[in-house]
Protein backbone atom coordinates (compact mmCIF):
# COMPACT_ATOMS: atom_id res chain seq x y z
CA UNK A 1 0.00 0.00 0.00
CA UNK A 2 1.41 3.33 -0.99
CA UNK A 3 1.70 5.92 1.70
CA UNK A 4 4.56 8.06 0.59
CA UNK A 5 4.23 10.66 -2.11
CA UNK A 6 5.72 9.41 -5.37
CA UNK A 7 8.06 12.36 -5.87
CA UNK A 8 9.43 11.89 -2.35
CA UNK A 9 9.86 8.15 -2.89
CA UNK A 10 12.03 9.10 -5.85
CA UNK A 11 14.04 11.35 -3.55
CA UNK A 12 14.65 8.49 -1.14
CA UNK A 13 15.79 6.25 -3.99
CA UNK A 14 18.03 9.00 -5.26
CA UNK A 15 19.59 9.52 -1.85
CA UNK A 16 20.03 5.92 -0.80
CA UNK A 17 21.38 4.85 -4.18
CA UNK A 18 23.44 8.00 -4.62
CA UNK A 19 21.86 8.51 -8.03
CA UNK A 20 23.66 11.30 -9.78
CA UNK A 21 25.96 11.54 -6.80
CA UNK A 22 23.14 12.96 -4.71
CA UNK A 23 22.70 11.87 -1.13
CA UNK A 24 20.59 14.59 0.34
CA UNK A 25 16.94 14.21 1.09
CA UNK A 26 14.66 15.32 3.85
CA UNK A 27 11.69 17.28 4.97
CA UNK A 28 11.92 20.81 6.29
CA UNK A 29 10.61 20.96 9.84
CA UNK A 30 8.24 21.64 11.40
CA UNK A 31 5.96 19.16 9.72
CA UNK A 32 2.24 19.82 9.48
CA UNK A 33 -0.61 17.33 9.76
CA UNK A 34 -3.48 18.18 7.44
CA UNK A 35 -6.97 16.69 7.35
CA UNK A 36 -8.57 16.01 3.99
CA UNK A 37 -12.15 15.49 2.90
CA UNK A 38 -11.08 13.31 -0.03
CA UNK A 39 -8.65 10.42 -0.25
CA UNK A 40 -5.10 11.50 -1.13
CA UNK A 41 -2.95 9.46 -3.49
CA UNK A 42 0.76 9.18 -4.20
CA UNK A 43 0.43 11.74 -6.97
CA UNK A 44 -2.53 13.88 -5.93
CA UNK A 45 -3.15 15.70 -2.68
CA UNK A 46 -6.51 15.35 -1.02
CA UNK A 47 -8.84 18.29 -0.64
CA UNK A 48 -7.94 19.93 2.64
CA UNK A 49 -10.78 20.16 5.10
CA UNK A 50 -12.40 23.57 5.16
CA UNK A 51 -14.34 23.92 8.36
CA UNK A 52 -14.89 26.23 11.31
CA UNK A 53 -12.45 25.27 14.05
CA UNK A 54 -10.03 23.46 11.76
CA UNK A 55 -6.68 25.13 11.22
CA UNK A 56 -6.16 25.58 7.49
CA UNK A 57 -2.65 24.51 6.58
CA UNK A 58 -2.61 21.93 9.31
CA UNK A 59 -1.07 21.70 12.74
CA UNK A 60 2.53 20.96 13.67
CA UNK A 61 3.33 17.31 14.28
CA UNK A 62 6.47 15.54 15.37
CA UNK A 63 7.36 11.87 15.17
CA UNK A 64 9.18 9.57 17.56
CA UNK A 65 12.59 8.07 16.87
CA UNK A 66 12.20 5.40 14.21
CA UNK A 67 12.73 1.81 15.24
CA UNK A 68 12.23 -1.41 13.32
CA UNK A 69 11.26 0.52 10.23
CA UNK A 70 8.45 2.30 11.98
CA UNK A 71 7.67 5.48 13.86
CA UNK A 72 4.59 7.19 15.22
CA UNK A 73 3.27 10.60 16.06
CA UNK A 74 2.30 12.98 17.33
CA UNK A 75 4.74 13.01 20.21
CA UNK A 76 4.29 14.94 23.44
CA UNK A 77 0.61 15.79 23.22
CA UNK A 78 -2.48 15.09 21.17
CA UNK A 79 -3.55 17.21 18.23
CA UNK A 80 -7.17 18.28 18.38
CA UNK A 81 -9.58 20.42 16.46
CA UNK A 82 -13.05 21.32 17.76
CA UNK A 83 -15.98 22.01 15.50
CA UNK A 84 -16.88 25.49 16.68
CA UNK A 85 -19.37 26.06 13.91
CA UNK A 86 -23.07 25.48 13.96
CA UNK A 87 -23.17 22.51 11.64
CA UNK A 88 -21.43 19.21 11.01
CA UNK A 89 -17.99 19.18 9.41
CA UNK A 90 -19.03 16.47 7.01
CA UNK A 91 -16.51 13.81 6.21
CA UNK A 92 -12.90 13.58 7.31
CA UNK A 93 -11.31 11.01 5.05
CA UNK A 94 -7.57 11.40 4.84
CA UNK A 95 -4.43 12.83 6.36
CA UNK A 96 -1.29 14.26 4.87
CA UNK A 97 2.08 15.16 6.33
CA UNK A 98 3.55 18.28 4.75
CA UNK A 99 6.80 20.05 5.47
CA UNK A 100 7.30 23.78 5.78
CA UNK A 101 9.78 24.44 3.01
CA UNK A 102 9.44 27.73 1.17
CA UNK A 103 7.20 25.81 -1.16
CA UNK A 104 5.76 23.20 1.20
CA UNK A 105 6.27 19.59 0.14
CA UNK A 106 3.77 16.82 0.75
CA UNK A 107 5.59 13.72 2.05
CA UNK A 108 3.19 11.15 3.43
CA UNK A 109 -0.51 10.48 3.06
CA UNK A 110 -3.17 8.01 4.12
CA UNK A 111 -6.72 7.59 5.26
CA UNK A 112 -8.09 7.42 8.78
CA UNK A 113 -9.21 4.08 10.13
CA UNK A 114 -12.98 3.92 10.01
CA UNK A 115 -13.25 6.87 7.64
CA UNK A 116 -15.23 8.82 6.67
CA UNK A 117 -15.48 10.43 10.10
CA UNK A 118 -18.17 13.02 10.69
CA UNK A 119 -17.70 15.65 13.38
CA UNK A 120 -20.90 17.17 14.66
CA UNK A 121 -21.05 20.75 15.94
CA UNK A 122 -19.31 21.04 19.30
CA UNK A 123 -17.43 17.79 18.93
CA UNK A 124 -13.66 17.41 18.82
CA UNK A 125 -11.54 15.43 16.37
CA UNK A 126 -8.45 14.29 18.22
CA UNK A 127 -5.26 12.49 17.25
CA UNK A 128 -3.75 10.98 20.37
CA UNK A 129 -0.03 10.62 20.94
CA UNK A 130 1.29 7.88 18.62
CA UNK A 131 -2.08 7.48 16.89
CA UNK A 132 -0.46 7.89 13.47
CA UNK A 133 1.93 5.08 12.63
CA UNK A 134 4.31 5.39 9.70
CA UNK A 135 6.09 2.29 8.44
CA UNK A 136 8.56 1.45 5.72
CA UNK A 137 8.65 -2.29 5.20
Amino acid sequence: MAAIVQAQANQILTATLAIGGSNTVGATSPLKLKLTSTAPSSTTAGTELSATGYTAGGTAITFATASGGSTSGPTGSAISWTNSGGSSWGSIVGLEVWDTAGTPVRWWFGTWSGQPIVIAAGNTFSVSVSAVTVTLS
Binding site: I92, V97, F125
Partner: protein, 41 residues
Protein backbone atom coordinates in the same frame (compact mmCIF):
# COMPACT_ATOMS: atom_id res chain seq x y z
CA UNK B 1 -25.81 7.70 20.98
CA UNK B 2 -25.74 3.90 21.01
CA UNK B 3 -24.20 3.49 17.56
CA UNK B 4 -20.89 1.66 17.61
CA UNK B 5 -18.00 3.69 16.19
CA UNK B 6 -16.06 2.06 13.36
CA UNK B 7 -12.86 0.17 14.08
CA UNK B 8 -9.97 2.48 14.85
CA UNK B 9 -12.23 5.25 16.10
CA UNK B 10 -12.91 5.87 19.79
CA UNK B 11 -15.72 8.15 20.92
CA UNK B 12 -15.75 9.64 24.41
CA UNK B 13 -18.75 11.51 25.76
CA UNK B 14 -18.12 14.75 27.62
CA UNK B 15 -20.22 16.08 30.46
CA UNK B 16 -21.55 18.92 28.33
CA UNK B 17 -23.04 16.46 25.86
CA UNK B 18 -20.39 16.87 23.19
CA UNK B 19 -17.97 14.17 22.17
CA UNK B 20 -14.29 13.68 21.48
CA UNK B 21 -13.60 11.47 18.47
CA UNK B 22 -10.17 9.85 18.64
CA UNK B 23 -8.87 8.74 15.26
CA UNK B 24 -5.99 6.53 14.22
CA UNK B 25 -4.13 5.95 10.97
CA UNK B 26 -1.43 3.68 9.64
CA UNK B 27 0.73 4.90 6.77
CA UNK B 28 2.65 1.97 5.37
CA UNK B 29 4.92 2.17 2.38
CA UNK B 30 6.56 -0.87 0.86
CA UNK B 31 10.25 -0.47 0.16
CA UNK B 32 10.72 -3.90 -1.37
CA UNK B 33 7.94 -5.43 -3.43
CA UNK B 34 10.05 -7.80 -5.51
CA UNK B 35 11.22 -11.33 -4.87
CA UNK B 36 12.85 -11.44 -1.44
CA UNK B 37 13.77 -15.10 -1.67
CA UNK B 38 17.25 -15.84 -2.85
CA UNK B 39 17.38 -18.88 -5.03
CA UNK B 40 20.78 -20.38 -5.53
CA UNK B 41 21.50 -23.23 -7.84
Amino acid sequence: MSEQPPEGVTVVDREDGTQIIYATATLEAAVATGNDDEETG
